[in-house]
């Protein structure tokens, strides 16, 4: 198995410094909705200047380079132990190159490890074996500000009169958006998972954020709810940075998980506008980046 450390370092560099085209396009579209001269429009203009500058100079889009979350899909027979080692070495190098801020803090001693490695869970790496001979490594960097405004609801929720159905899901997601205000660096992207347990729900709510902005939901009912939630969230007038304005949420993604008869969780992951996710593929010894 070839050493992919340098390629993974490049994946990290791209993810931290080069906002994906579909996200940038969505931000460009949203600018037109905001009043000329408004703080909301000014915020979006600054955001887009920052995106261009970060790409040009290979510097982090956001100083909070976030929790690194890797999803590795590997072919049969590949060593996940070696892959993990290469990812960790690349993460250390990315920190030295200032593509990543040292972000792993020991919760007990308060000491920052200085190299983005900490325990078994930092960075987070998920492995899954797939058919075929292609290896793909996806990376998402999720900042702390938006992670802090994520929320999990257990239905029914009497405070919001939210029952155990899609109407109830709608209500709690809108509540989460209102509570988040601008704290999650709006305009945001919502990843929603309903069902599952507390752990699998949050996990799935992040996994849906790997989808492209223009990818439709295969389930027509969920596709409809996604659009409705985006529209209604934008009616709340929170706006970019919470300055007030028309663009609060750029996109909503929903997925359902099987649940226990007793449980009905709705897990909401809020992704900031600095929606950093990238993918690399290795096939026949050739490495490509999306």
């Amino acid at each position: 198995m070839r050493d992919l450390t340098e390629n993974i370092l490049e994946l990290i560099r791209r993810t931290s410094t080069d906002l994906p085209a579909d996200v940038e396009k969505s931000l460009c579209t949203s600018i037109e909705r905001e009043e000329p001269g408004s703080a909301a429009r000014g915020a979006l203009e600054t955001i887009l200047k920052n995106v261009a500058l970060s790409r040009k100079n290979s510097t982090p889009i956001c100083q909070d380079t976030g929790t690194p979350i890797f999803y590795v899909h590997y072919p049969e027979g590949m060593s996940t132990r070696k892959l993990k080692e290469q990812i960790r070495t690349a993460m250390e190098a990315a920190t030295r190159h200032s593509y990543m801020r040292p972000n792993a803090v020991n919760v007990l001693t308060e000491k920052n490890s200085g190299n983005n490695l900490g325990g078994k869970a930092f960075p987070t790496i998920h492995f899954e074996e797939v058919e075929g001979d292609e290896l793909t490594i996806e990376l998402m960097l999720k900042g702390g500000g938006c992670e802090n405004v994520g929320a999990q609801y257990s239905l029914p929720d009497s405070r919001l009169s939210a029952g155990r159905d899609l109407a109830g899901v709608r209500k709690v997601v809108l509540d989460a958006v209102q509570k988040a205000q601008g704290q999650g660096c709006a305009p945001g992207i919502l990843g929603v998972a309903f069902g599952g347990d507390r752990g699998s729900g949050y996990l799935a709510s992040k996994e849906v954020l790997f989808n492209k902005m223009d990818e439709g939901n295969p389930d027509p009912k969920l596709a409809e709810l996604e659009q409705k939630l985006t529209d209604e969230a934008n009616q709340m007038g929170i706006g970019p940075m919470g300055f007030g304005g028309k663009t609060t949420v750029l996109k909503t993604r929903i997925t359902g998980l099987h649940r226990l008869p007793a449980s009905y969780f709705v897990s909401v992951s809020y992704m900031c506008w600095a929606y950093r996710r990238r993918k690399m593929s290795v096939k026949d010894n050739e490495v490509t980046y999306d």
């Binding site: 920052n50 909070d64 308060e110 920052n112 919001l160 509540d175 660096c185 919470g242």
Partner: protein, 206 residues
Amino acid sequence: MREINIPISDETIRSLKVGDPVTLNGIMLTGRDTVHKWMIDTFIRKTRPPQGDDLQVYGAIKPLLKDSLIYHCGPVVSGLDTKQYKFVAAGPTTSIREEPYQAEVMKHFNLKGVIGKGGMGPKTLQGCRDAPAVYFHAIGGAASYIAQSVTRVLEVYKLEFGVPEAMWVIEVIDLPVVVTMDAHGQSLHAVVEAQSHQVLQDLLAK
């Protein structure tokens, strides 16, 4: 756009109103969660005795903070090995986490305000009236762009808190911000919160 130079006078602070876009020039310090807790515990509420270089650092930062600002920011800094520090990425962090401490810190150090994102609550708003001080909102995530405004890193204190949590003494030129909480009791965040709450109630009733 109006330029504000640090040190800032009370008169200038009182002239600022919610919604004013301004640019900032001068010397300020970064400080976030660990710094605020350290200031409160060690020097303000004094629940923890000073340790190590605490008193020395206190002596150094006190004159720097007078009539200046704390920037809620955990930067990406290059040159850590050579100590030729340079800010590479330096957007604001979420300010609300400092809500329990901010008003007391502003008062104790004679700050003229703080810079952050997301706004702060009623305690800080009252602190802004009393000081007087304002809350400047920088654009969250615009880290490369804002780092360009940081022309010099003059000093770093408490680097043992970690790079994001240390106190970086920086000189900025043309740092773009918006006043979202002023010294007259006005808060854009309170207004947006109340309005969106009403819309939410209407949507929930549907």
